[in-house]
Symmetry: C2
Subunit: 339 residues, 2 copies
């Protein structure tokens, strides 16, 4: 049995979405066991009347919830009885638990993962790697998307190694094309950190580094992973999601402005529904944290059941592919560089 | 007469677009005189047969062109006879010339402006401020969008002061709402530089600082200016443009995939044309460089005549509003902070 924890509180649609997502994945993977953390009575209520294999689900009572506006460090230290911190401690302490999924506070989860869960040997700092859809039907990972607002060149190389392995082993991409986010394509673009990182990436035969990428090419389908410092990576991901959502909203508003448009849109109903689904980040799972010794997946705060299920699937596949061990093998080759 | 230089070479549609744009603005502003730099014979050819007031246009012969792939510093030093560098020198040397517009190499233009054109007294570094349309029909400026990949907190404050005055005096926005690009809304988000800048922005009564902005809210219409370091500001602008273009391309492709969609789109033809125009950055002019003692406007490399005309209009309005003097007045109050 592969045991995965799910923090059932802290998201906008918690705990229902989290519980439903867990049940969906129990159907999907017959060797999966889910451990739900959170208020026991509430969770039992959520499960009541549902059809599932009770031997493959357990509840760990955790009466507290970490809110999104709480200071991460304080939350981690003081809310020991929260659904998130109970899950983190169990993940750390129990050898047979493989991974955890949370839709709660990102800051608290990062702080808890950094201080309570160990790193893969040689990894300087874990990094987030969410996935976005590309216009040719593929996908692109962005690493880091916000765990580290300050980086070193060696950290950027590690992000490249970790995310390359992730795309390879979890998404089956052969020789992932890795680019670095920069203000221009030329090697000498950006600040010192990016210029040095460019050199390091060129000197790393374990990855297929294809050069700098300008942000307007993110969705082009020409890249499988984009390596970025956590600040601009965060801007990249949120701008893409924001622009897509705002544009779809504008289209909808404009359609309602004239009868003839409404008529036209009626004929295109299925197409517009498809576009909406295509741009719906709920369909692409969460941000996995790469470089921690045990798998941590952060779902969007607004995750619904289908998105939670995707996050659990990501955690499951990461564990199945023994990603941590594969990461260590390459990372330690370059470990001395940072000293 | 207000004299504005236009570098007629170096853009994708140069020199035709540049010459046409100049003629359009001569029609628009009766007190405008345009000085065209570039190969004289080619420019005369472009003007031949056009209807314009020859007394308000002059040509300065410049046989060389700076390419987009040339190293900026080398180009500035070695291509003295280029259309860009001739314009830059004339702008510097001739008191009665107010401004210049170029659609050539951004790097070369920034290098030339920094080394050849002076700064407004007190300004640490000039910054780019392009404009994007917001979903409620307004506009938002992004400052800096790429001139400075590394910044200090005081530089971010100066970007805020300069861009606030720009939105106020060129676009008539009363008390522009200024936000700072960050990875979250809270004051303590981001690295040290952004945290310190947050404090400085709060302590600057001359601007209406409304707090941090997450990049997904750029097009919401809730902000008039977003202050950013040049690296993430560049990512913000290019991701927005890139996502919008890619989405429109996808819509078009999907429409052609089924007859019924094509039929629907026929009814919505005008709407789709409007959306395309709305997202077409050609309609929003160029990036003005704020903080130089004389006005420099950089148009997109892909600028067509209408976009070049917009850039000239921006330069004209900046000069009319005596922006440099107004900027200096506020900036020097805080000048000692950086020492």
């Amino acid at each position: 049995m592969l045991k995965i924890l799910i923090d059932c509180f802290g998201g906008d649609h918690s705990p229902d979405a989290n519980v439903c997502g867990a049940l969906m994945e129990l159907e999907q993977f017959s060797d999966l066991h889910m451990i739900l953390t959170g208020d026991e009575a509430t969770l039992k209520n959520c499960l009541a009347g549902q059809d599932y294999d009770a031997s493959r689900i357990s509840i760990v009572h955790a009466p507290e919830v970490i809110g999104c506006d709480e200071k991460p460090i304080d939350a981690v230290r003081l809310k020991r009885e929260s659904s998130m911190m109970k899950a983190v401690r169990m993940l750390r302490d129990e050898d047979d638990i493989a991974a955890m999924v949370s839709t709660g506070s990102t800051g608290a989860l990062v702080a808890a993962a950094l201080t309570r869960i160990g790193r893969v040997r040689g990894v300087i700092r874990p990094a987030f790697c969410p996935i976005l859809p590309t216009m040719d039907g593929g996908k692109v990972g962005i690493c880091d998307s916000g765990a580290n607002v300050e980086v070193t060149p060696e950290m950027l190389r590690q992000f490249a190694i970790m995310s390359s392995l992730y795309m390879q082993h979890v998404y089956g991409v052969k020789s992932p094309r890795i680019a670095m986010l920069n203000v221009g394509k030329e090697a000498e673009k950006g600040d010192d950190i990016h210029q040095q990182a460019y050199k390091l990436l060129c000197e790393t035969p374990e990855i297929n580094f294809v050069g700098n990428m300008e942000s307007r090419d993110l969705l082009s389908g020409r890249y499988d992973v984009v390596v970025a410092d956590g600040f601009s990576g965060n801007v990249l991901v949120k701008t893409t999601e924001g622009t897509a959502l705002e544009l779809l909203k504008k289209l909808k508003k404009d359609i309602y402005s004239r009868t003839i448009y409404k008529l036209g849109a009626l004929l295109m109903k299925k197409m517009f529904a498809d576009e909406k689904e295509f741009m719906n980040y709920q369909n692409y799972g969460g941000s996995v944290l790469l470089g921690t010794s045990k798998t941590v997946v952060k779902g969007h705060g607004s995750s619904k059941a289908v998105s939670v299920a995707k996050c659990i699937e990501q955690a499951y596949l990461m564990e199945q592919s023994a990603l941590a061990a594969k990461t260590e093998e390459i990372i330690i080759k370059y470990e001395h560089y940072e000293d």
